[in-house]
Symmetry: C2
Subunit: 198 residues, 2 copies
Amino acid sequence: MGIVTADLGISLDGFIAGPRQSLEHPMGEGTEQLHRWHFEQPEENAAEIAEIVNAGAFIMGRNMFGPIRGEWSGDWRGWWGEEPPYHAPVFVLTHYPREPLVMDGTTFYFVTDGVASALEQAREAAGDANISIGGGADTIRQFLNAGLIDELRLHTAPILVHEGERLFDGVRDLTFEPLGTTANSLVTHTRYRLTYPH
Amino acid sequence: MGIVTADLGISLDGFIAGPRQSLEHPMGEGTEQLHRWHFEQPEENAAEIAEIVNAGAFIMGRNMFGPIRGEWSGDWRGWWGEEPPYHAPVFVLTHYPREPLVMDGTTFYFVTDGVASALEQAREAAGDANISIGGGADTIRQFLNAGLIDELRLHTAPILVHEGERLFDGVRDLTFEPLGTTANSLVTHTRYRLTYPH
């Protein structure tokens, strides 16, 4: 059985999204630089990118899929155009029921009954492969507080974002075991095995 | 000429001190674990410890020297007993004038006219060696916002502190160039060269 991972682009001051999220700034203002390592240095970061891409299923919060609830209850097909970067099923947490959205290479499933249900469906889809939880902060918090993430992978961009959503706000106590770190000019990768004391 | 460095023990959620600082918890509650790498794994972290210890002068805020202003205006001789871990002059930022305190291996000087003056005095004392800025958060913020720190070394302990003083709160925009990272079970070391856009 695969493990449950969370891969998060984060700033030096701990933000995974900036303020004032909009169509123009899906992750909030000032956060475009969080993911430069992914787009500008794919070769230097090939191993880390491969680990994300090779997941057998993905889970994400509704803001990762679309900007405003009402806008994507009908025709919205995600931020990525007609060729989303996911090559395995994606489970989107939402309060709004919707039929699965079949696209090129993936299907988006809309899960209205919470993180445990999403994980159960993702496990079935992933088989022996890993399951990747993609954010945002509220989704990660729910999974961490339920003790459901096995490995946290922080991709720290050397920038300050100053305001927005902090990864660890409201997260319960848990134990982080460092598994290694590497760095290049746009990012420091650090991974932790998580365990959950009672 | 040496460079100006800041070595900071920091939690995964970005705190360098916890809440409710007291004689019993000089850095606030819950932060004892921030520095376990230093005390419990001196061999694994020998290179990083040597770089700190070998500075030619140190600068620190008043809370790093003592708990409450009134208490150390007279007899207070620092947190460390009669053998402080500093083997070079230490410049303590304070609003309360005091004669230099000569101790075994170091002298504490009390600087009442701000960070630039403290740095000037430290440079003179350090000669060609580096100058290490020790914290707390308010001191680091003042040095960063004045553009005076050349290299930031974060020693990230794999713990959550949840509340207290965040390193980057109120810090101006600056540019971080990653210089490398290493990790072991109690700490991830990451260093950045800092530059200050106009």
